[in-house]
Symmetry: D2
Subunit: 353 residues, 4 copies
């Protein structure tokens, strides 16, 4: 897709569109079809989604992850209710209060987490406190978990099952922010069903944009009773496309032949390779388990400077409280190849020499 | 773009993507670029927009017309304020209360209009009443005008200038819903600047989707002080694409070589041809001036039945109060050719014979 | 309560507090009690409300009618839904878009009505249209009826039963704006139960402020499942008083010994007397049925001028479309006596002489 | 006001109404006056407020502190903006997301604080981070400070001046939650002006309910340009009373002869006396500086049990993280006398003996 070396490790949203998805868009453009989702491409997507999740599901494509998360959360929590999340969750830190907007003012309640994951007991403690406050505190309604997390970590199925069980016992519904769901499933080696509704996830933001689509994410819910409200909320927030076929066609191509999983595996593999390569750099220290396609790593300043001089791009990251030294975030993606990673590692090591 | 005759006259949003725009999307996909609009495609679009409007403007692409309208209106009216519009305006009847949602509960105040256009004096009377009510009535803040309107009519520049002048004298700001702006400009034979800021329009929803794009509309404002708020509101409503280049590339291709105007002219010409052809159908009666690409016409029931039997698609439309007989809406679009129209007319006339 | 003649006929909200209610406030102030409604005064009110409505009800006092209406409506309609009302309804014209605010942007859908009342069939037609539009139109959810209406008219029980039946058959819930509920019950001669839940009303704003309280209205709902949401919404909108006893004490005193009904009867009787007195004024023409305590009447300009010169206060009212001559609104209230009315009539008649 | 010993130390909102304020309400009830604030009582309050603050101010009475805070904040921050506060602030923890509701979804950004007060530098650091995130983070707009705080501490004027200066330099506006403003001013020994606009406070919630009123707080702003928006927002949230005189009369009586300050001094003196008395209880440890009328104190379990057995009421409080032993909150108020405090201390000491 590109004919120059891939030196940008700043994010996975800097990528273009996978050729299979571009081709699907072009193919879908032929002829007239009914608008707003009453078209054969959207029918096909619904069938694919049912197959993927091994049961009938409600799937609503939208163009952005922020929209998917915020619309999904808005049907899980009323305006006077609260949504728990790790304090570092993307919905809490990077979406400009979109969940507050879509929900009509529900409150995101950030819980402490060093690695982006909640642990058993956190929800119970928080809900007990909330309920002791009565109407003065928002009413607990939902929890949102990221899979993979903003720290590049991935919940095991056992961890998720425990959290979903705790949430349901507390009367909370569970949303999963799957902007990098493909990375998680590729790593876990399970099915999409096993990672979601079979262990208690009520609603999923199924990401595709970072992993090869042009602009496509899907809201997937497993309770058909939510479908009507979702449809109205999507329309009223301007996220129902008139030429809906072009959202559906992207997602169908993404699922076709498990392209999404192949991309997730490639992205993860490049992160593994990069991590292995950087392990040999003196002074490097990885801050989180590298489960998906993100590496948060402490590197010597000289190494960072040399990499940037060589044209590599990546973000500085705030170091954890009480720790020293510069930290950077490195993100791999579906369109990276071994040579891209190796070029980075080579400069990093050479610098250290 | 399609190899079968075009028998669907139900809307202009049933169309595919113009080949020039598809090609631009594919070209933009090559390589990595920064996300969220800091890319060369978006820079290029900003330059093109400045050229189109003959001055620096703020342009924010989004994927849908509902988003463009609702975001634009949300910066023109606070939640305790009111927005005037013809009662038949798309924002009032077809967007599931999106303006109310984005604005945080501002009130759309529908004024009567038989042809989708406001006339001088309506705003003055409505604002005088509102102000007599003090805080019990929402505070008048803005007016939104559709160009072309939902009834397929087009304001003359003189009409617009008078309305904008009246609005400004009343302290209202003016938004233009230009979902079919290309049809209007093609008909008026003026420039985009002459039809907007030069006569007092403060914000424009510049439509492209109905006229050849995949999913692209642009919010254009002429007061740079609004830019920051617009950026935040776009992000928080989930309408900022991470792969922003793909919105910009669509719009750039749409403007390139005045493709948008060529499409508008073709669409209008097909409506003119269709109108002329149907004039010969006994019992037909056109209900509105056909200024753009929509025809609202009373046709004999037998004609309607024959057309549908021949595979033509179009919507029944509620007849005006107090009138008889079935009314249909016929919409032409950029991708129709004379043979498509002639086929429709032939069946309509044959029926009548 | 006042030692000068009562010459202000502009509204019933210009009145002071009934002495029984003032005394109840003073009595309730003695000693400490738990805050936020966990006090004996609030318990007593709940018992009184159950007795009044002949069944267990949920009652939440608030300080204003706008709050009562808007909170009640916000539990009956989600933000993407619609609430039908006569276009002239107070919630639609006089509350600065409070229902839109509290509901998070639900749309008030005003239906035409010359006398402030809906008639059978209006809801069915409107809902059928809404449903034909799918997600592009807000989803029909509720209807709000004023009893008495803004035009001083009162629904008969048969009329209400028919409307509630139609609403329920359409899946709508019914709210009643009872800012002047006492006037209605006093006129209808039925019980509060017979005028509400027994004929299908789901939620009631039970007014007291205009009829003798300091600042007290009650939200009453007949479906206990709504209680929790109401409590949260009241708190979050700042309408839960910490010294809640002072709302409850007002309402208890208002109900005690049917003070509310006595006030309603007095207010109605003064309107009847005023109407009878004005019937003898040449050129006078009453525009609406005087069912409660409001008279909308056309009077000769000279009469109006003479009344104002004599110190009487009242509002000019916009005449109905297509009609001539000045119209005024005259409002009576619980604290008026025959001499107040007679003084007004005397000046009106003298003027005509 | 009460004839039994005052054994409830749970809050200052369990109190009745000061006799002077009750008398003012009764006096204001005489006769008819114009509604919605166009009355002589409201005029008088405006004059008193100007005198109190030594300059023209905008003052809008409402019935609750939640309403005062939320309405004030809603004019200082747009829905896509952020409001900084100590994480323990009442607006963040006890108002059921009212600020989020009134602002249309602005985000409260809680900053860590052990004693309820912010310190210099916290705002600068937080704003720098926010701005580095661009539109992905809400736009910094305001900060709200409680005076006195939820921990019963009080900012010195120097501390406030420094924080306001820092806030303004960052482009933030400053709101002060003065639910216990009287306690603060009584302790600081300065004027209301010196504690607010003279050192940079832009908007104040001036509390009266906890300190002797029935239900009255005032929104006070020092920028007249905000007045119009405030008026509309108050109406639309249902907080504009039709019988507005009864809010104004409460606040006028509260200011008359500096009743508010006398109450604040009494309340503070009772807290001082209580603190001194409890100092002699072995095992007691006060957790915060007792600047106002709240004491957070660790007491032996046996002491707590004995106090409750003797009929005293107070809340258990969560102990600070990592600390042992039960903590209680004791609140004094304007209507307490020395004998009330001494009775509490006697039981506490006796227990320890």
């Amino acid at each position: 897709m590109h004919n120059r070396s891939r030196r940008d490790f700043s994010s996975d949203n800097i990528t273009g569109v996978a050729p299979q998805i571009l081709a699907a868009i072009a193919a879908a453009s032929d002829g007239t079809v009914h608008s707003y989702g009453a078209d054969p491409h959207s029918d096909a997507l619904r069938h694919r989604a049912n197959a993927l999740f091994e049961r009938p599901v409600t799937i609503l494509p939208v163009a952005t992850g922020t929209a998917a998360n915020a619309i999904a959360l808005s049907v899980l929590a009323r305006p006077y209710q609260g949504i728990y999340c790790p304090a570092s969750a993307h919905v809490n830190t990077d979406e400009c209060a979109a969940p507050e907007f879509f929900s009509g003012g529900a409150k995101l309640l950030g819980l402490p987490s060093a690695d982006g994951k909640l642990v058993p007991g956190q929800l119970s403690e928080a809900v007990a406190f909330a309920r002791s406050m009565g109407v003065h505190h928002v009413e607990p309604a939902a929890v949102t978990l990221s899979q993979a997390t903003e720290w590049g970590t991935i919940y095991t199925l056992a961890e998720l099952r425990a959290l979903c069980g705790e949430a349901h016992a507390l009367g909370l519904r569970v949303h999963m922010d799957g902007a990098r769901f493909a990375n998680a499933i590729a790593r876990l080696g399970c099915t999409a069903a096993e990672a979601t509704w079979k262990i208690g996830v009520d609603a999923l933001s199924f990401g595709a944009t970072k992993n090869g689509a042009l602009a496509a994410e899907a809201i997937v819910v497993f309770d058909a009773a939510l479908a009507g409200e979702l449809e109205y909320r999507r329309k009223r927030s301007g996220h129902l496309w008139s030429k809906h076929r072009f959202l559906s066609a992207q997602l169908s191509a993404y699922l076709e032949g498990d392209l999404w999983l192949a991309h997730g595996r490639q992205s993860n593999a490049m992160a593994d390779r990069l991590l292995a390569g950087l392990a040999g750099v003196p002074g490097s220290q990885c801050l989180q388990s590298v489960d998906a396609n993100e590496i948060f790593i402490r590197l010597p300043e000289a190494v960072i400077a040399r990499l940037r001089a060589a044209g590599f791009e990546f973000y500085d990251w705030p170091p954890p409280a009480g720790s020293d030294g510069p930290v950077v975030r490195l993100v791999t993606s579906f369109d990276m190849v071994e040579a891209d990673v190796d070029a980075f590692v080579a400069v990093a090591r050479q610098t250290a020499g």
